[in-house]
């Protein structure tokens, strides 16, 4: 039998975790938790509700954190970001999903999180039991701060992302990307080279150690296509790469390619868009 922790009944990643749980065979129960977030307390409530069952959660930050707490409390192994499982043999993500590991879990009980978007979301007709743990002295959230986005769309939610890499050349070089982004109601993203150089804040970074995006269109300008960057944008429905080097790796991940100098191409696209929108 399996207990699934869901962040909420309609949360996409949690419904993917349900699919993983259903694939394990046996009965599945789903729980969610109410009240201020307190990782060790929440995990203890999940452990108690599970009895001796397998435990599955979503491969979100919170899901992975809770499963790791549960695993530490039970002193059991925990396999994070599982994309396939057959008995005790499983496949899990490494390097933000750009490498897979086949592994064997040596344990009577399985503690797993589901790799994001590896499973179709399940529709769950049954009840999701709400646990209400009592808060003792566990570490808990005491406040929440939200950034002022100044009315701009966030990188994670944007339908279009205009992203720049080393090829943009400088902080000022991003002005032409900003201009194109404004016309498309897009967010501006960037590669790690750009944040390390201090041209853009880290909150703009796309990739394994930045934000993972899944827009309808991702426009990569002067980005080479390192695996750690691709880890953040492979969820895009379409990728347009603009690069001076026709051998660049990014083209192997792109649906559309424009070869040449982004400093000429990006303003030309902006001008063309203005023309089309104006008419």
């Amino acid at each position: 039998m399996t207990l699934v922790f869901m962040e909420s009944a309609d949360d996409e990643l949690s419904r993917q975790a349900l699919t993983l749980a259903q694939s394990l065979g046996g009965d599945v129960r789903a729980v969610t938790i109410d009240g201020p977030y307190a990782p060790s307390v929440w995990a203890a409530a999940i452990v108690e509700a599970a009895g001796g069952d397998d435990i599955v959660g979503p491969g979100s930050d919170r899901g992975n954190e809770l499963l790791a707490h549960a695993a530490a409390q039970l002193d059991l192994p925990f396999a994070a970001n599982v994309s396939e499982i057959q008995g005790d043999e499983l496949t899990r993500l490494r390097w933000g999903g750009t490498l897979l590991e086949e592994a064997r879990l040596h344990s009577d009980r399985r503690l797993l999180s589901s790799a994001p978007f590896a499973f179709a979301p399940a529709t769950w007709g049954q009840e999701v039991a709400v646990l209400t743990p009592s808060f003792g002295d566990g570490v808990q959230v005491v406040d929440h701060v939200a950034p002022d986005m100044g009315g701009k769309v966030s990188l994670a939610d944007a339908k279009v992302v205009v992203s720049g890499g080393r090829g943009v050349g400088s902080a000022e070089g991003f002005a032409i990307l900003e201009e194109l982004a404004a016309l498309l109601d897009a967010a501006v993203g960037c590669s790690r080279v750009v944040t390390s150089a201090g041209w853009r804040p880290h909150s703009d970074q796309v990739g394994q150690t930045g934000t993972k995006v899944s827009p309808d269109l991702y426009i990569a300008c002067g980005i080479s296509g390192a695996t750690q960057h691709i880890a953040g944008c492979k969820g895009a429905k379409a990728l347009l790469a603009i690069n001076a080097d026709k051998e660049a790796t990014i083209f192997a991940h792109a649906d559309y390619a424009v070869i040449g100098d982004l400093h000429e191409i990006v303003p030309a696209i902006t001008a063309e868009l203005r023309k089309v929108k104006g008419s």
Partner: protein, 249 residues
């Protein structure tokens, strides 16, 4: 403040993952090595706290002999001392955490123990949390903001749409994410000084793995054949057409 930062040596893989013939590891013959950007920010943060208020920054790694290179890199950022648990085998997250906890117990107590949120390669999302339980310390993960004052730590954890704030008493364990700060580029004198800082290396025995790696697999690419829309600014009209087809313009 006495601060410990745990880091892990990983290859810099570039544009393509290439495996060794036995599919047990990434082919690293032509690759350089580094630590996760998360961990690099952890080292930078620890060094800043000690620069401001005094104390000691110790860096710990479990890894092959060559991982001494990563400890020296951290010393060039400003860490004072290194602990190297030497093993040429692959450890699972549970065993890694147990070995790190043992090494910490053998030291004078630390006020703050810093991890990356997840390692760059295996990404198990758990070593820091397991070490906290083994030592009976509170733990907060995924930090993008950290303020240490009067024996407490204010921790800002990244969540969708903002940051959750925690307030914990020290000693505590935290795991951090890139973006916490912008790490410095070490100066040449700092790199030279790093060479003579104390580094304690000892062999450790690996226990039986409970999460046992069988083999690595490079995922099938999307086999995309990009449609070339053109060269140079002359491609702009085609680009806009495609944007309209995709319904974004």
């Amino acid at each position: 403040m006495r601060i410990l930062v745990c880091v892990k040596r990983v290859p810099i893989t570039g544009g393509r993952m290439v495996l060794t013939a036995d599919e047990q590891a990434i082919e690293t013959k032509h690759l350089g090595f580094t630590i996760s950007p998360h961990e690099e920010c952890g080292v930078e943060e620890a060094v800043r706290i000690v620069e401001a208020g005094g104390g000691e920054v110790v860096v710990l790694t479990l890894g092959p002999e060559e991982a001494a290179e990563q400890i020296r890199d951290c010393m060039a950022i400003g860490a004072d001392r290194g602990i190297h648990l030497v093993s040429s085998e692959e450890w699972d997250p549970q065993a890694t955490a147990a070995a790190i906890a043992d090494a910490i117990r053998a030291e004078d107590p630390f006020d703050l123990i810093v991890f990356g949120n997840e390692s760059a390669d295996a990404g198990g999302y758990q070593v820091g949390i397991r070490v906290a339980y083994a030592l009976g310390l509170p733990v907060v993960t995924g930090l993008k903001g950290l303020t240490v004052d009067a024996g407490r730590a204010r921790c800002e954890q990244e969540v969708p749409g903002g940051r959750d704030v925690y307030d914990v008493a020290l000693p505590a364990v935290v795991s951090v994410k890139e973006g916490l700060n912008l790490p410095r580029y070490p100066s040449v004198p700092a790199k030279l000084r790093a060479k003579s800082k104390p580094l304690d290396a000892r062999l450790v025995e690996r226990p039986v793995s409970k999460l046992e790696k069988l083999r690595l697999v490079v995922p099938e690419g999307s086999h995309k054949q990009a449609e070339i829309l053109g060269e140079g600014p002359a491609a702009a009209p085609r680009v806009v057409e495609v944007m309209q087809q995709l319904g974004v313009a």
